[in-house]
Point group: C2
Chain length 393, copies 2
């Protein structure tokens, strides 16, 4: 991309970092998408959302089509408050902001908390979109490794101690996906959850908890950090993209009311009355607990299919974490550059995400790849893994 | 609002400037809304949008509910390209970005073009949301007065000459609503349009043209600046909020492809497949020309009602511009502080927007107020103006 003489330096720098939208090549048609973090298509409630729209517009006519929108927007907030309460999170209305998905939520939080002076701690590896967002606001990003029990909080403690003793700035916030992490699928242990909360209090930083996959445990779901947060240091981000439909673009932030006001200030796309009211009607008519159980068992079944295929078709040198929920399996392929592997895989009709995209230092991800079992059907999952196995042998 | 110790200075400053959402008090129930820039309720196509959703989901099932969304998103882009072409603006796909309304569009453009070093020229008075957005990015805002023929381009020329001769920074862009301006309703003359384009070329700045009301001329609509832009200096913002339904949150930016890429980079709410595909189906089934004619005649009728009421019920000292389209009439009430008047008006059941909100220096707006004839019905318009007349006598 040519540098526009009109662009301020910060923009030129941001655009130089990562050319927009260049992190994945276009997928060929009919490609088996083991790359995509999309929900299972048959569980996206198209019919029910259609009925929700019909019912909404028959009841309220043009109301949800204006700026101010419908009283149903409040219903959506109440519904989300109730769901959060069922997970141990009790928030008032002024502590909640509906966003257009989790990605916008993370962007708003970064805008409020980051500038060139402040820094942020991320997990290594972490959600690539969040990494891209943070790079737009600061150069000061530090990553702490994740293992099978989640973020290595002792390493975080060491970092904080060192920085404090040297008189260096402490982080504005830690970004973590403690439950069914993207991309590793790992879950932070109860002990580490306690530890990270203690560190936040001791060193006075926020925790940005991304809980997009939190309800999708195969058996059950651990309590979010927000539920054990006594000091109001956890900013919680949730989403209906993984449990209802990403195309509706509904997520949220929950945090202290003054923090929520600041985020709202920068949210210049305003409320989305039509989709928010539609979602409120849908949720009002849905047995959400039953829906979650269906999602859990469906994804567990597909996960089993993926893992079995990995065991059957991949070389012995290849290894992976065993997630307890979510959408992803994180695979290590020793001695293989997964970016190069992707081109060959695409030509054979299967996609995955190369590990490098999830790391602050892309080289650390060379031998890793992320597989998703959420979107492709079981037959395609097996077919896709067979192809990968063939390529790796 | 308490300053959060976690917030960087830029955020504290922004929040101190204008407490979020505080520019208008809550309106009492059943208030006659002469304040609101909302479309005429009976012309918001609730029934047709409902049919569009039903047809879309029956045809495509879950497709528009995923991230990637439906091929209809491309149809929406094509439809907007065709509409722009009918107004003399020819844009390629990579020169167009669909946004969640014009407000998000302006925010993205400001993010790309402004920082603390750069400055922006606005009209005086101007769209208050745009003013709030610019203040989030820079302190360097200069305003140039508008008269009945729009922006006073000779004053702009003088400013530019002076700054150039003093070696001061030239503006990054000029923000203008040349057609049926918000709040004054005025339209920039052809001569001034030519002049402002010449200035942009000579002094090398962008023009951010906000054309939200451009199609709503009572008789006809002048060509946008973008249509006479030979050098690619006009960044054009449009919206379906005033012509279809604001609750659908659909607007757009058109500009040079590298500029559009930069805006897209910061648009972290992603595409909105469900609403964009729905709008595509709606537009595909709608005779848009007929719709625009209906809007024009309807708003013209309501405008006549408002103007007649102003003539009949307001004191002789009160004056206003006569718009040729759009939603608003800009009223001067000599010797009256319209902020104080608002409280009394609200207690009598009618609202307007005090002039101060539209000015960089709020004091300049003390004697002005903005009336909207778009939303209230004709009886209420007359009733509302009668109340204002009573208060002013």
């Amino acid at each position: 991309m040519k540098a526009n003489p009109f662009f301020p330096e910060k923009i030129k720098a941001a655009l130089k970092n990562d050319p927009p939208g260049m992190w994945m090549p276009n997928l060929p048609e009919n490609c088996i998408r083991l790359s995509s973090g999309y929900p299972e298509p048959t569980l996206v409630p198209a019919e029910q959302l259609k009925e929700a729209v019909v019912s909404l517009l028959e009841e309220e006519n043009d109301l949800p089509l204006h700026y101010l929108g419908s009283p149903k927007i409040v219903k959506l907030e109440e519904n989300i408050q109730n769901r959060l309460a069922s997970r141990g999170i009790h928030v008032k209305r002024e502590e909640l902001l509906i966003t257009s998905g989790a990605c916008q939520a993370i962007d708003l939080i970064a805008r409020v908390l980051l500038d060139d002076e402040t820094f942020v701690v991320v997990e290594s590896p972490t959600y690539m979109e969040a990494l891209e967002i943070f790079k737009n606001y600061t150069h000061n990003i530090i990553s702490i490794p994740v293992d099978e029990r989640g973020l290595q909080t002792k390493r975080l403690e060491k970092l904080l101690e060192e920085r404090k003793s040297k008189g260096l700035a402490l982080p504005s916030f830690l970004y973590t996906i403690p439950t069914f992490q993207n991309p590793t699928g790992t879950t932070m242990s109860a002990e580490r959850r306690q530890h990270v909360m203690e560190l936040a209090v001791k060193y006075n930083f926020f925790i940005l908890e991304d809980d997009a996959y939190g309800e999708l445990g195969f058996d059950n779901s651990p309590l979010p950090l927000k539920a054990i947060d006594k000091e109001g240091l956890v900013i919680y981000v949730g989403s209906l993209s993984k449990t209802v439909a990403p195309g509706m673009r509904i997520g949220w932030i929950s945090g202290a009311s003054e923090f929520i006001s600041a985020c709202a200030w920068f949210k210049k796309d305003l409320n989305h009355p039509f989709t928010q009211a539609t979602m409120a009607v849908f949720l009002d008519r849905t047995n959400y607990e039953e829906r979650i159980i269906l999602l859990r068992t469906t994804y567990h079944d597909k996960y089993i299919v993926l893992i079995s295929a990995l065991e059957q078709f991949l070389p012995k040198s290849v290894s992976w974490f065993l997630p307890k929920g979510g959408y992803f399996v994180w695979v290590k392929v020793p001695g293989v550059d997964t970016s190069l592997l992707l081109n060959r895989a695409l030509s054979m009709g299967v996609s995955f995400v190369p590990g490098k995209h999830f790391f602050l230092n892309p080289k650390e991800g060379t031998e890793y790849l992320r597989l998703s079992f959420s979107y492709a059907n079981k037959n395609d999952i097996v077919k896709g893994i067979k192809i990968l196995g063939k390529l790796l042998k």
